[in-house]
Point group: C2
Chain length 323, copies 2
């Protein structure tokens, strides 16, 4: 947890492997009480990326499928993150990257983060002395900055570490891998509307009531304790957001109705994923998630709004090499 | 953790014991990042109370030493807390209480809380079916309300539970007993000035910057994680207060100088105890605390201000029966 960023040294590349395929999970950030702090990785929902070690220098993006994104490395979050890392470690090789997007851009479940995190995770597989998760997260944030305008880690951290992560601050930069929540089911609902991150930031007040600040800190602290104790009742009581949701929910049509559907169906938590428009819902039983997704999808469709929905789990794994 | 308040039933008293002596520890509340939430008990600093079961009803205060406090039960925090409990459980006995104060009133290390917590803890020893710590805390808060104007648990909880406690909220009311910190040394410095709780409340802003609220929640959450992981570095980094200290320190002369002395002497945390004027300081070595107390006492005395100082530890024990 306390590793310093890798010092500038020449990293020798290995002869093998020269080509790998990586799965990069979708992630949920700004989890209720953990605005700008708490995130988790989703199981089975994510992009794939292929990495080939070359004799050149830097990142070359050779193929993108599933989305229309810039091919030039300096305009692509994977390129920016990958190049930041390759330059900093003074690598004596280059990397070709194929990006196969499955996570819809702008959905709020960490699409750009998956590309940034995947890039540095993939490159790390070619290193004789691989970097730590904390170091990789730091480089992935450089890619995030291209997408959102500022370096933040709440999506890239769970994408790299897997499970549930808490970013405790940036000075010093620290990420805590919290105890797993792998018995928790997740429903993701993505209504097809566009929310710009800037707009979602702008709607937030600069100041909040002190009493709400205290309540939010109690919620986040007791949520952390609930994971260590695995106290389901405390988990449910603490995963609440009194600071951000009251403002940002105004950007999402039918938010209160959808939230009510989730709670009526036995779900234990509901909130905006990232800066939206996707919403996440947690439950201890898959049936609760499926019923919620079916009812909430019907509500949106009755109102003429298209939605995607995903039934998933919190994944203990972050980026990983696949066949 | 999740017990409901004891339902109104007749509690039969035991024949024995009929007289007990209880130690009630001093406590530190509002611990940095945990304003209104986090508190801990001190080892070896505290009041003593003697309880005698009688055939009457309600609390009778028979003796108070060490301080001039009201003898009438309805004007005394121990009386108010004790009577709230006795009435609610419909006890078929009464209690005589002697209060031997050692904790100076108005010092900010839980003087009134010790009396309120001690009262309900003592009475609990006479019950056939003792109440839970959470239930006792709830009754002790009634006493606290007499002293401070509102029911709060941040001192009475650690006084009853011992160790370090986190009050996670009042609706529902919940207290988490956090992992022990019994290797941590504490220095308490009490400059002889008066700070009224009302004044300490009034100096706080009603609104705080959102970014500070986020930082404080990250601090409290990572402090909790540091206790579960026993990560000393994280402990030190997270036990900080960006919301309250900047305002309340203005009420304490030489605060910044005293804080600097603590950090120069290797202490790992420093803050206002409760609403002051006492300050607490934490260290992993007793020598650091002793050096800090000596230098800071000298600074105050040079400036013509009288101080008390205590070298202690965080105690795993709350109120306890003694010989």
């Amino acid at each position: 947890m306390s590793q310093e960023i890798h010092k500038k040294t020449t990293v020798q590349s290995l002869d093998n492997p020269t080509e790998i395929r990586v799965f990069c999970p979708a992630t949920v950030a700004n989890v209720n009480c953990g605005f700008d702090s708490l995130g988790f990785a989703l199981k089975g929902i994510g992009d794939e990326m292929v990495f080939r070690k070359t004799e050149g220098r830097g990142v070359t993006i050779t193929e993108i499928t599933g989305d229309t994104l810039p091919m030039e490395a300096h305009n692509n979050v994977a390129g920016v993150a990958g190049n930041a890392m390759l330059e900093d470690i003074n690598a004596n090789f280059g990397v070709e990257i194929e990006i196969h997007k499955k996570i819809r851009s702008g959905s709020g479940i960490g699409s750009s983060s998956a590309s940034a995190a995947g890039a540095v995770y993939g490159i790390n597989q070619f290193l004789e002395k691989p970097l730590s998760n904390l170091e990789l997260t730091r480089y992935a944030m450089k890619g995030e900055a291209l997408a959102s305008g500022n370096e933040h880690a709440d999506n890239v951290a769970p994408c790299i570490y897997g499970g549930t992560t808490l970013v405790t601050g940036y000075n010093p930069f620290k990420v805590i891998a919290l105890p797993p929540m792998d018995t928790v089911y997740v429903g993701i609902l993505h209504p097809h509307i566009t929310i710009k991150t800037k707009e979602a930031r702008k709607i937030l007040p600069t100041h909040v009531p002190l009493k709400d600040a205290i309540a939010q800190s109690q919620h986040l602290a007791s949520f952390v304790a609930s994971l260590y104790e695995w106290d389901k009742e405390l988990f449910k009581e603490s995963i609440k957001d009194v600071l951000v949701e009251p403002h940002r929910k105004l950007l999402i049509p039918h938010f209160d109705e959808i939230k009510a559907i989730s709670l009526q169906n036995g779900c234990i938590a509901f909130g905006i994923s990232g800066s939206g428009p996707s919403m996440f819902c947690l439950a201890f039983a898959k049936a609760d998630i499926d019923k919620y997704l079916s009812e909430s999808t019907a509500l949106y469709e009755c109102n003429g709004l298209q939605v995607d929905s995903y039934s998933s789990r919190i994944s203990g794994e972050g980026c990983k090499v696949i066949k």
